[in-house]
Amino acid sequence: MRPDARLQWKTRVFAVIVILSNALGNFSLAWGMRNRTTLSVVDYVAAIFSPWVMLGISLLILWLLSRMALLSWADLSYVLPVTSLGYVASAVIGRFFLSEQITPERWTGTLLIVAGTVLVGLGSPHPGGDL
């Protein structure tokens, strides 16, 4: 495999991990924190050790590490727009599990994000670099 093609593939795989771990991590956190009152330190500790919150934290740790790995070879100005697909993923999860309404405005927003992501994603993650 040519080095360019290898890097493109590696970048795509990591972008998908970053996007999904962020959206799913935030969702599990929100799900785990629903109907919880955190008035004291004990409440907080109990919340942290509940299964959904633990899952959310683990996914967000995965998000941080995979994003760091991605930034080790891809530019920040590439990573930011591409991983913004996470906003779309969160909207879809919200629609699915929390039965939120998707207004025409939101559909337009989703389309704009996807367009921006595709536009940037088709380019090189590190143009003119020595990788």
């Binding site: 941080l64 994003r67 760091m68 790995a69 930034l71 080790s72 070879w73 530019d75 920040l76 100005s77 590439y78 990573v79 930011l80 727009p81 913004s84 906003y87 779309v88 909207a91 207004t103 405005e105 939101r106 337009t108 927003g109 989703t110 389309l111 704009l112 994000i113 996807v114 367009a115 921006g116 992501t117 536009l119 940037v120 088709l122 380019g123 143009p127 003119g128 990788l131």
Partner: protein
């Protein structure tokens, strides 16, 4: 006030994280032992620790903002950081931001703002 804390710490966190990872260079070894070595090296990088501290600050500031403001106000703020960070990536990290990336970043920022309404 809270908003400027969020924008400022997000921008600083991302910039420092990107800077330190660029210095480290491409991670190629994904076997557990290799990853452990990478993590041990990274855990000693000052900028990276600072970056994570900034990200934590921005996370808690965002949570606080959500208590006093609507999500539809809070999320467009994060869209603003996107354009801001692209400008700083060009200026400080000396990245080559071509027209494709400028247009992409603006499209995404508009999209995020719409999504939050």
């Amino acid at each position: 006030m809270l908003l400027s804390v969020i924008v400022g710490s997000t921008v600083m966190g991302d910039l420092l994280q990107s800077l330190e990872m660029k210095r480290h260079g491409e991670i190629r070894d994904f076997h557990p032992r290799g990853l452990g070595k990478v993590l041990a090296t990274l855990a000693r990088k000052k900028y990276l620790i600072l970056a994570i501290a900034f990200m934590a600050a921005s996370f808690f500031a965002f949570m606080t903002l959500l208590e006093v403001a609507d999500l539809s106000f809070a999320v467009p703020a994060s869209a603003a950081t996107l354009v801001f960070e692209t400008i700083l990536a060009r200026l400080i990290l000396k990245e080559r931001v071509d027209s494709r990336r400028w247009v992409g970043a603006c499209l995404v920022a508009c999209g995020v703002a719409l999504l939050a309404r």
